[in-house]
């Protein structure tokens, strides 16, 4: 156990976490030079493209120290977005220390702070590492000052490196060995293993990543999950070496994987404790909580014929992403689909992109919603996340919506713009602090509904990319909610209905009416598009009918072109959704969700 170190790298987006991880893996000799590619741990294409980590990965690095001893350094990777903060906390709970990576040019950012606090909550040893010291804009002295002043860490002991150039990598290794303490635990005590991740292997089922705190686990053991009491027989244990490397056993202090014939990752809960069925630990490791979705949206196939294929894709997808929950949903306009719950908006985007790219689905997603709470005159409290189930307003006595505490860190000069944005988004109770010269931290209480849509994009725009954003749920607050319906020639387009704050209903309705006007092609009759709350029309646009569509000349050389156009139109028509006698193209449903062009 003395020769084990368990650590994570935490950093603000873009501060070079993946690059440093790559460099450590390379320096440890895990990958032959020619097979090396950037961001080894980020296995999804999407992660590599966006430069963020979505699924965490873990790797055990062999390191021969100058004292001649070989250490096993377990690098536990963490996802890098607020939507996945619970996963991050479980990964951190598996470590004794972290490398806190700070960009030598950018300095300390909002996420750096948030990550630091998370690490401090777990009493981890924090090793500051200043990365990108090779950049011309690097200002190591200023960054050291920020580390001292804003993070209250000893900057003299900060390790300087450039992961990209391979400078200072050995110093990083040494700091891990010398400054992060070895794990503690009793190999002879009953087994207590913390689950911090699970991935899906099509042949073996769930591969559970865990940290053994006490006891040991061997192939053939009968293990039990604390949360649900499920029992499995262990088929294989081992450590991660980019590929899985089987071992006879895993012992207290070690990090590795367990394969036990578990069919899907949704049977495995992050944060759960694994023990032995015949010799269980007295109590589970602390900190387990069920991850609950907070953002909801329905997914429909573009062509209703593709419903079975979408169902299949979702089933396969959730094998590997336990956080996505879904159930059947249906819409008069869009046919059969699924109501899905997501951890946040980024999670939603990831699911959408992966379904489209990896599972080749063409999707229509409805406007995301949060879970609203309605108290009825019978005293019943109803939680509604799908506008279809909006209760009859006559019986509603109280309405509430979930609030978050939004923490925004940005350079001082953007403070006005951020304040304006947050106020527009119904932000309340603003607080400020100045964590360092020229920088402000702005805290608002805001409705979750206001940030799930395009808040993050807008924040990036108004702060020219310098603003960072983090949030936590702070519970429900009373709110004046209504259901907004969109009608096309008097017919309700159910997929466009929305539960929304009364004040936000009109601007939203106006925008939707305009977008639909742009997207719905002219018909032979006039089309009225209306936004309505209750029976009251609050926004309206009209599409004038076309009277004429005829080519003056059509001779021998025009026929092919004309036919091709018709073929295209016919194909487009098949993809149209009918609402009454109006054909609405798929693009209209997508356009409604687009952020303002500003």
């Amino acid at each position: 156990m003395k020769h084990i170190r368990n650590f994570s790298i935490i950093a603000h987006v873009d501060h070079g976490k993946s690059t440093l991880a790559d460099r450590l893996i390379q320096a440890a000799g895990l990958v032959p030079e020619r097979e090396f590619r950037d961001q080894i741990l980020d296995t999804l294409d999407l992660e590599r493209e966006r430069g963020i980590t979505i699924k965490s990965n873990t790797v055990t690095l062999p390191y021969r120290a100058p004292d001649g001893l070989t250490y096993a350094l377990n690098l536990i990777d963490t996802p890098g977005h607020v939507d996945f903060s619970y996963e991050v906390s479980r990964a951190l709970a598996s470590c004794e220390g972290v490398l806190l990576l700070v960009d030598a040019a950018q300095g300390v950012e909002a996420q750096t702070l948030a990550n630091l606090y998370a690490a401090m909550e777990h009493d981890l040893v924090i090793v500051p590492v200043i990365n990108k010291i090779d950049l011309p804009s690097a200002d190591v002295d200023r960054v050291k000052e920020e580390i001292e002043n804003e993070l209250a860490l000893d900057a003299d002991k900060a390790v300087l490196c450039s992961a990209k150039e391979g400078i200072g990598i050995d110093e990083v290794f040494q700091a891990v060995v010398e400054r992060i303490p070895p794990p503690q635990g009793d190999p002879e005590a009953p087994l207590a293993a913390l689950v911090f991740d699970a991935q899906y292997d099509p042949f073996r089922g769930a591969v559970v990543a865990c940290r053994i705190f006490d006891g040991r686990i061997r192939t053939g053991d009968r293990i039990r999950f604390f949360s649900n009491g499920a029992v499995y027989r262990v088929e294989e244990v081992g450590v991660f070496r980019l590929k899985r490397e089987p071992r006879r056993s895993l012992e207290a202090g070690e990090v590795g994987y367990i394969i036990a014939g578990i069919k899907t990752v949704s049977d495995v809960r992050i944060g759960d404790t694994i023990t032995l069925d015949d010799n269980p630990a007295a109590r589970p490791l602390p900190g387990f909580r069920e991850v609950k979705p907070v953002v909801f949206s329905s997914i429909y196939p573009v062509s209703s014929d593709d419903y079975p294929s979408l169902q299949d894709a979702l089933e396969k997808y959730t094998l590997n992403d336990a956080a996505l929950v879904y159930q059947k949903d249906s819409s008069a306009a869009l046919g059969q689909g699924f109501r899905c719950g997501f951890l946040g908006l980024l999670h939603l985007e990831i699911v959408q992109e992966r379904l489209e790219r990896e599972y080749d689905q063409s999707l229509i997603m409805t406007i995301p919603s949060v879970q609203y709470r309605f108290t009825l005159d019978t005293g019943e409290v109803r939680v509604v996340e799908n506008p279809q189930y909006y209760p009859d307003p006559v019986h509603i006595t109280a309405t509430e919506e979930p609030y978050i505490r939004a923490v925004i860190l940005c350079p001082e000069r953007y403070m006005g713009a951020v304040m304006k944005l947050c106020t527009e988004r119904r932000g309340e109770n603003p607080r400020f602090s100045v964590p360092g010269p020229g920088r402000v931290e702005i805290v608002f209480d805001m409705p979750l509904a206001e940030v799930i849509y395009d808040f993050y994009d807008r924040l990036k725009t108004v702060t020219q990319g310098y603003g960072s954003f983090d949030y936590e749920m702070i519970g429900y607050r009373p709110s004046d909610l209504v259901k907004l319906d969109i009608l096309v020639n008097g017919e309700k387009v159910d997929a466009l209905s929305l539960i929304v704050h009364r004040e936000r209903a009109r601007p939203w309705a106006v925008q939707v009416c305009e977008r639909l006007k742009e997207e719905i092609p002219r018909h032979q009759f006039k089309i009225a598009i209306q936004g309505a709350v209750g029976g009251k029309i609050i926004a309206r646009s009209t599409i004038s009918p076309f009277r004429k569509d005829v080519t003056a000349k059509c001779y021998g050389g025009d026929i092919t072109r004309k036919r091709k156009l018709l073929e295209k139109q016919k194909k487009g028509k098949k993809r149209m959704k009918m609402v009454g006698s109006v054909s609405i193209p798929q693009s209209a449903f997508v356009a409604v969700l687009k952020t303002d062009k500003e």
Partner: protein
């Protein structure tokens, strides 16, 4: 109506480019004789595969600028290579400025009975805007000259929906044309095509009002029908069924046609192909014996059906009910179209109304 194939020869030469024209043409009149050679050599390639032809159409470009020697060589060569059915219709497209007495006589002597004159307008201001190189006076003279030379099948091309044109102006245009008692009239709505000089010139000018265009179309149809013309295709009128353009009708009836010359299209009932859009590359290719076909497509059954639908709906003969199909879905669509007065059923055929013609490009989309 005969089922013989049509022969089209593309004469790609013009003295200048008209503002609205999207057809392929060049001004290098010096290459005419090389082009004649090439067309005849290309004809050799098809001599066993096509014919007898029921029509010959010299289109362009500007076929009327062909001199006597070139024209005689071309027609003689084509006649030597292909057979033509009894009473074959021979058409030549002419620009008014070319129609002089000797040309009219030449065409008559060469057996070209049908002359289609690109008058477009009898208003000099509009002619200038369109980039035409003739005046209203020249147009009138051309029609007079043709009649005097004994032309018994005269077709006049006119354009409407000219910027700021009103109905009265258009009626006067039609009256002037009718004073020559033409056997055939083509009345085209001015279409601003992409990449033409007209498109550039129209920048900032509001397009012709759509509702007004509908009125023009209906009024034109009414006016000419009252004057005894058959409105047999969206833009075409004949003094009687005998004067329907037999060549153009082949396109709309899906009858095979062979196109010779650069940029010419051909159709043999199964596939369609088109030659390169360059006189030089065309002539060089033919000389060297390499294929000048730049585009070729094999039509599927479904594609042939779609073409029959949209081409048929352009004409007053419409489409056979067999093409539309008899599935419940097709019947439903048909009933709906009839109820909306877009189509009518006549002798087992589905024929468009004037209202239907206004949305002719969408009629095929009504059916499964």
């Amino acid at each position: 109506m005969d089922g013989h194939a049509g022969l089209y020869i593309h004469v790609p030469f013009c003295r200048g480019k008209c503002a609205y024209c999207g057809f392929y043409s060049v001004t290098a009149v010096g290459e005419v004789s090389a082009w004649v050679e090439a067309v005849l050599k290309e004809a050799d390639l098809y001599r066993d595969r096509f014919g007898p032809f029921g029509s010959l159409y010299l289109g362009g470009g500007t076929p009327s600028l062909l001199g006597a020697a070139d024209l005689r060589k071309l027609l003689g060569g084509v006649r030597a290579r292909f057979s033509f059915a009894q009473g074959c219709e021979i058409t030549l497209e002419a620009n008014p400025e070319d129609v002089l007495q000797d040309k009219a006589a030449l065409w008559r002597d060469e057996g070209i009975e049908r002359i289609s004159v690109g008058v477009q307008s009898f208003d000099d201001a509009f002619l200038a805007k369109l980039g035409r190189r003739h005046t209203a006076r020249q147009a009138v003279k051309a029609l007079e000259t043709l009649r005097r030379a004994g032309c018994a099948n005269l077709s006049v091309d006119l354009m409407w929906a000219l910027p700021s044109q009103n109905l009265e102006h258009w009626r006067r245009t039609l009256e002037t044309a009718l004073s020559f008692d033409p056997e055939h009239l083509s009345c085209y709505e001015l279409t601003v095509e992409r990449g033409t000089a007209l498109e550039a010139a129209m920048q900032g000018i509001s397009p012709f009002d759509e509702a007004l265009a509908c009125v023009f179309f209906r009024k034109t149809s009414e006016f000419l029908r009252r004057r005894g013309y058959v409105h047999y295709e969206i833009s075409n009128y004949a003094r009687s069924r005998a004067f329907v353009s037999r060549h153009n009708a082949k396109y709309w009836r899906h009858v095979p046609y062979l196109g010779l010359g650069p940029a010419a299209h051909s159709f043999d009932g199964q596939s369609r192909w088109a030659n390169v859009k360059s006189v030089r590359r065309y002539a060089a290719g033919i000389r060297q014996g390499v294929s000048v076909v730049q585009f070729r497509e094999e039509l599927t059954v479904e594609q042939r059906r779609l073409e029959r639908l949209f081409l048929g709906f352009r004409t007053h003969d419409g489409v056979s009910l067999d093409v539309v199909g008899r599935s419940p879905e097709a019947r439903r669509a048909l009933r709906r179209a009839v109820r909306r007065d877009l189509l009518r059923i006549r002798n087992g055929r589905l024929v468009p109304t004037v209202k239907g013609w206004l949305i002719a490009d969408r009629l095929p989309l009504l059916f499964p």
